[in-house]
Structure formats: structure tokens, C-alpha cells
């Protein structure tokens, strides 16, 4: 029972980390039809920015604040200076763009390695979040609870923006029908760049908060981005709410298989994805709201 409870928390913590990436990835796909394979690069960049800020100032909180900034800017620039012009040039299909971002993912890992070296950088856990607490008969690291908290707050914030604000309404309209947004008189390029930047910043945030837990290394984004793909596909490409539930499913599948069926831990989530694909080959990709 103690193992089960701890694994529920571990699964939740894992889910929230992946959700921060998946939310951005799925919005970008829904709105711009770009499968951004380089999304993991922003995770890496956020983490390294966090390391740089934390080691310069000694403050994790400052790192948490400043770490996502570079991904935010780079994301917006990438979208408006490279991807959008290529997409408009007409010759590049969204498959080309996916392949382009595949190259970008590896180039970023290489660039980071070139700048920071290939060693794994350890980031100290902030003192306020160090140690562990006892709850429900188990002792659990405070920092992991913090990750769960951050993930849930972001999810709540995004849901609020998406469901209750004008920006959210515009985004929802854009996911359903791109032409409609233009018709509403919204500057579509600015909106795209903003959403891309926001998605990148969320991935960067995930990178900063993952740093004390898993260390920082050049290929951290490549590892996590594949899991993110599973989440956005299971959740339905472009479906924000779906990706939240899918994050939970993927995180829990990972955590439970590690504890109870370690033989399958490396491929359980992929088997899950394929299962979903067989049962709903087209359906899982569609935005649930649109079909209804």
C-alpha cells in the first residue's frame, strides 16, 4: 500500500512535468498545424538557463522566473522568422516542418553541449523545498510535491484562460477553424508567435523545475519529447484538456509499471499509444470538441 501510494505521487509528479510540455505542443499543433519536434529543445534551454541563473545569483526562485524567458523569446522568433515564412512559401509541407524541427532538436542538444560541456550539471534543491514530509504514512520529498503543485496550477490557469477569456475564445476558434480567426480581425501572425512563445516558455519552465530532480544534460529534451508525443497523440492533437488527462494516464502507466511490472517499463506507454491507435485510429487525433 505504501508503495502504491508513493507511486501514485511519483506518477502524478511525472505527469505534471510532461503536461507542461504537452500543453504547448498540442496548442501549437492545433493552431498552426506544426508538429514541433523541437519542443524538447525548449525544455533543455530552460533547464540550462535555470542553471546559469541559479549559479550566478544563487537563487532558485530567480532561475524559476528567468529560465523560461529565453525559450519564450526563441520560440516566438523561431515561429515568426523561420517556420511561418517556410510554411507560407508553400513548398514546405507540415511534414517538412516536422523534419526541420527534428534537425533543430538535435542541433540544440549539440549547441548546448558545445557551450556547457557534456557533463551532467547538478542543481541544488532550494532549501525551502528540501527534505521530505510524512503524509498518509509515507515520507515523500517536498520538492516533488512542489512539482505537482506547479503542474496543477498551470493546468488550472490554462483551463481558465482557454475557457473563460477572450484570448481563450480566440484560440478555441483558431483550433477549430483558422480562417475564422483572421475573419475576427485578429493579427494572426502575432497570435501564432505568442502561442508558440508561450508553449516554449512552459517547456522551459518544466526544464527549470526538472533540473534539481534529474540533473541537467544536453539530451534531456530529446528523452522527454518522445513521451510528450505519446501524450499529445493519446489526448488528441490540438486538444488541451485531452492532453491533461493523457498526461495523467502516461505518468501513471510509467510509475505503476516501474513498481509492479518493471519488465515493461520501457515500452508500456508506447504499447498504450498503439492500443489507442488501433481502437480509434483517426478518432484520437481529432479534437473531441470539434467532432461533437
Amino acid at each position: 500500500m505504501q508503495v502504491f501510494l508513493t507511486q501514485v505521487l511519483n506518477g502524478l509528479q511525472l505527469s505534471m512535468l510532461v503536461y507542461l510540455l504537452a500543453a504547448g505542443l498540442t496548442l501549437i499543433f492545433g493552431l498552426m498545424n506544426i508538429l514541433n519536434l523541437a519542443h524538447g529543445a525548449f525544455f533543455t534551454l530552460g533547464a540550462y538557463c535555470g542553471v546559469a541563473v541559479a549559479s550566478a545569483t544563487g537563487s532558485f526562485w530567480l532561475a524559476l522566473l528567468l529560465g523560461p524567458l529565453l525559450p519564450l523569446v526563441l520560440g516566438a522568433v523561431l515561429q515568426s522568422m523561420l517556420l511561418q515564412p517556410l510554411a507560407e512559401r508553400g513548398r514546405s509541407t507540415h511534414l517538412d516542418l516536422a523534419l526541420l524541427t527534428f534537425g533543430l532538436l538535435f542541433a540544440t542538444a549539440g549547441a548546448v553541449e558545445w557551450l556547457f560541456g557534456s557533463a551532467f550539471l547538478a542543481v541544488p534543491t532550494p532549501p525551502a523545498l528540501a527534505g521530505h514530509v510524512s503524509l498518509l504514512g509515507i515520507s515523500y520529498p517536498v520538492y516533488r510535491l512542489f512539482i505537482i503543485g506547479v503542474g496543477l496550477s498551470v493546468a488550472a490557469g490554462l483551463t481558465f484562460v482557454f475557457d473563460r477569456t477572450l484570448l481563450g475564445a480566440t484560440l478555441r476558434a483558431g483550433v477549430d477553424d483558422r480562417a475564422m480567426v483572421t475573419a475576427l480581425g485578429v493579427n494572426i501572425n502575432a497570435l501564432f508567435a505568442a502561442v508558440f512563445g508561450l508553449g516554449a516558455a512552459l517547456a522551459g519552465l518544466a526544464g527549470v523545475i526538472a533540473a534539481p530532480l534529474t540533473s541537467v544534460y544536453s539530451q534531456m529534451g530529446i528523452t522527454i519529447v518522445v513521451e510528450t508525443f505519446v501524450v499529445v497523440v493519446v489526448g488528441g492533437l490540438g486538444n488541451l484538456r485531452g492532453s491533461f488527462y493523457a498526461s495523467l494516464i502516461v505518468g501513471m502507466t510509467n510509475a505503476m509499471s516501474q513498481a509492479y511490472l518493471p519488465e515493461v517499463e520501457m515500452f508500456a506507454i508506447y504499447a498504450l499509444l498503439i492500443g489507442v491507435m488501433i481502437v480509434r485510429p483517426q478518432g484520437m487525433f481529432r479534437n473531441v470538441e470539434r467532432v461533437a
Partner: protein
């Protein structure tokens, strides 16, 4: 008459010197390929090995028998496929005379097969998996460190006879991990200990030990006995502390779990736990003091276990080359055969080789880290025991 004698002697000497010079000029530099995983999980220990290797060569002024010694570096990326490509590049393109280095056992297994077929001497630095010099032994392959069994078998016996009755073993799911922990397990069980649970995490893929630590903490064992190195070691030690297990379920292991090169990343977590090591930087032997002095001079820091292993690797090669007068015999297996005959004093103790070209450990230390009032971290001697023999399994004779 006397003058002519002197003259003749002088001429003879000059001729001799000239011929020596001629010999050195005739022969191109000796090239040694040094293959290490300079990137990724084992980047930090590899850096240490590389430095130790340089110290050994510097001791000989980077030349032997009048020939300059050149080092050509290659990165195997901890990946057998890349290791094979790099080995081929070193041997065929760079035309190295021998290949040194190699950390990962899986890369070691891959390239030792190649060295055997290509008849190129391969002097491995780490690759502790027992089968490298047993099932996969070759007259062209030697290992200058030790085998997993040599290091860990008696460790199992030691802990079982020092108050530990039950243990969880936890390690990376690849050959070195299994070799080390299986050796520990054999020793531990033979001395009456009980392994409660075995936890294997995917090598190079695990970043979160939450699940593994949770299971271990519920097993009811007295300790976790573990082998991890590089980045994985840092993560495990940190997460072990995060889950509050330092008192309840101590993490016991070797000098890679608590690697000196990781101390800055671990902070105060390094103070306290006992672990085993093959090298004591504070050892008062002539070989060690010479090594430490030169290392400090070259790199402005203290050597640690990885540097020592790199030094042994370079030292064994230079001693062998010295014996052979700076020439690689036509039958290249004779190079390894010569190395097998070496006995030398290394910073870690006396090094000798067994019949299947594997170096043996004289002794293993149990240490713990203490912090002095000035804040310096000092490895402190607790106990010691002898290294074990290698596992049998080499069916070839050479």
C-alpha cells in the same frame, strides 16, 4: 696509443649515439589510440582517466626507447556501434600501434572481438565485466584495472561479517552493473547474508529513482548495496537523501557512487557514508606520493580513483614499451604477453596480471569522508581487505 683508444672510444660512442639518433629518426612516433566516452553519463570519470593517462606518459617524457609517443583520442559515446567505428578509424586511418582506454563493458566486449580479429593490442582501462577476460578473453586484449569479481566478491564477505544481514542490491541493467553486484551477492550470501530484493534500472535511461527507492524502502533490508557511476550516481545519492532514507536505509557502495569528481555536486551528502575504494590518495607509498605530486603539478588538483586507473593504464603500456625497446613486435600478441609478465608498484598497490591478461587487486579499502573544521573533505581509512581472484572462464591459452 692511449689517445687513439680514447678517440676510438669516443668515436664508437658517437657512432652509437648517432645510430641511436638514427634509430629514433627512422622510426615514426608510437601512436596510441585512447578511446573513452568523453560525453554523456560517464563524461566526468573519463576526464579523470584521461588526466591520469597523461601523467603516466609525462613520467617518461612522452617518449620511450628514443621514440616519441603520440596519443590519438576517440570518443566511443558509450555506444558499441560508435566504439567499433572509432576503433576502425584509429587502427586503419590513424594507424595507431595499440588502443588504450574504454570504460563501458559493452563497448569493451564489442571492440575486444575486433582487436582479436584485427590482431591489434587493446589495453583496457575499466571494462570490469568478468567475461571480458574470461569468456571473451583474447591474446590481444589486456585489462589494467581489475575485474568486477576481484573488487566486489570480498566486499560481500566484508559487509556480511560486519553486522549487515540483509541487503537490497540496486544497479544499472547492463553487464558491468550485473558483474559488480553479482560478485557482491556471491560473497555476501556465502558469508551468510541475505539479498532481499534486486532492482535493476535501465542503463543511461533512468533519471528518476523514485520507484526503485520506494520499493527498496519497503523491503525491510538493512542497506541498499549499489553500483552506479557518473551522473547516475549523483542522481541516486541525491534522491536517496530526498526520500529521507539516509538513516533508515543507508546507501552503501563503492568509490563511483561517492566519486570524488561528484563531491561538489553532492555537497554535504558525501559526509558520513562508508564505501569501498581501490585507491587512497593519502596512502604513504613512494609510488603514490610521486603520482600525487606530478598530478598536482600538471592539473593543480588532487588525483582520485579514476585518474589512478588512467595512470595504471598508461603506466602499464609505457613499462611494456620500455621492455620492448620502443618497438611493437611483429607478432603483436607478444606485446600483451610482455605486459602480462609485468609486476609493478602503482599508487593503489602492487599490480600483477593473471594468466588471462587481467590485472589483479592487491587490496580494497573501506573509507568514509570526514569534514575538517576548515571545511575540507577528507577520505578517512576505516578498514581494508584483500582483492579476490578473477572468475575462471577463459578457455583459450596464450
Amino acid at each position: 696509443m692511449k689517445r687513439t683508444g680514447i678517440l676510438a672510444a669516443a668515436m664508437l660512442f658517437a657512432a652509437g649515439a648517432a645510430s641511436q639518433v638514427a634509430l629514433a629518426e627512422d622510426l615514426p612516433p608510437l601512436k596510441i589510440g585512447l578511446m573513452l566516452p568523453y560525453k554523456g553519463v560517464y563524461a566526468v570519470p573519463s576526464e579523470g582517466i584521461d588526466r591520469g593517462f597523461q601523467v603516466a606518459l609525462a613520467e617518461y617524457g612522452n617518449s620511450v626507447g628514443g621514440r616519441r609517443v603520440e596519443v590519438v583520442r576517440a570518443d566511443d559515446e558509450l555506444t558499441p556501434n560508435v566504439g567499433v567505428q572509432q576503433f576502425n578509424r584509429l587502427v586503419q586511418l590513424e594507424k595507431v600501434d595499440l588502443v588504450a582506454g574504454v570504460v563501458s563493458s559493452s563497448v569493451g566486449i564489442a571492440v575486444s572481438g575486433l582487436a582479436d580479429k584485427a590482431a591489434t593490442p587493446l589495453v583496457l582501462v575499466n571494462t570490469f565485466a568478468d567475461e571480458i577476460t574470461a569468456k571473451f578473453c583474447s591474446p590481444y586484449v589486456a585489462r589494467t584495472s581489475f575485474s568486477a569479481n576481484g573488487f566486489q566478491y570480498n566486499s560481500g564477505k566484508y559487509w556480511a561479517t560486519h553486522g549487515i544481514r540483509t541487503a537490497v542490491i540496486m544497479g544499472p541493467d547492463y553487464s558491468a552493473g550485473h558483474s559488480f553486484l553479482d560478485a557482491f551477492k556471491r560473497g555476501f550470501q556465502e558469508a551468510g547474508g541475505k539479498i532481499v530484493q534486486e532492482i535493476w534500472t535501465p542503463f543511461q535511461k533512468t533519471k528518476d529513482w523514485g520507484a526503485a527507492l520506494t520499493q527498496a524502502s519497503n523491503s525491510g533490508a538493512q542497506i541498499i548495496y549499489s553500483f552506479y557511476a557518473g551522473a547516475e550516481a549523483v542522481q541516486l545519492v541525491k534522491q536517496h537523501a530526498d526520500f529521507g532514507l539516509r538513516e533508515k536505509l543507508p546507501l552503501v557502495g563503492d568509490h563511483w557512487i561517492y566519486d570524488q569528481l561528484n563531491w561538489s555536486a553532492l555537497g554535504d551528502l558525501i559526509v558520513g557514508p562508508e564505501f569501498i575504494t581501490t585507491y587512497l590518495p593519502t596512502a604513504k607509498t613512494e609510488a603514490n606520493e610521486r603520482f600525487v605530486a606530478r598530478y598536482r603539478e600538471m592539473f593543480r588538483q588532487d588525483p582520485e580513483v579514476n585518474a589512478e586507473l588512467g595512470y595504471d593504464n598508461g603506466k602499464a603500456i609505457m613499462l611494456t614499451l620500455e621492455k620492448l625497446g620502443g618497438r611493437i613486435p611483429a607478432d603483436k600478441s607478444q606485446f600483451i604477453a610482455t605486459m602480462r609478465g609485468l609486476v609493478f608498484d602503482s599508487p593503489r598497490g602492487k599490480v600483477r596480471f593473471n594468466a588471462s591478461n587481467s590485472a589483479l587487486l592487491e587490496k580494497v579499502y573501506v573509507v568514509k569522508i570526514k569534514k575538517d573544521p576548515a571545511g575540507n573533505l577528507l577520505p578517512t581509512y576505516v578498514d581494508e581487505f584483500a582483492g579476490a581472484e578473477d572468475l575462471p572462464g577463459c578457455t583459450k591459452s596464450f
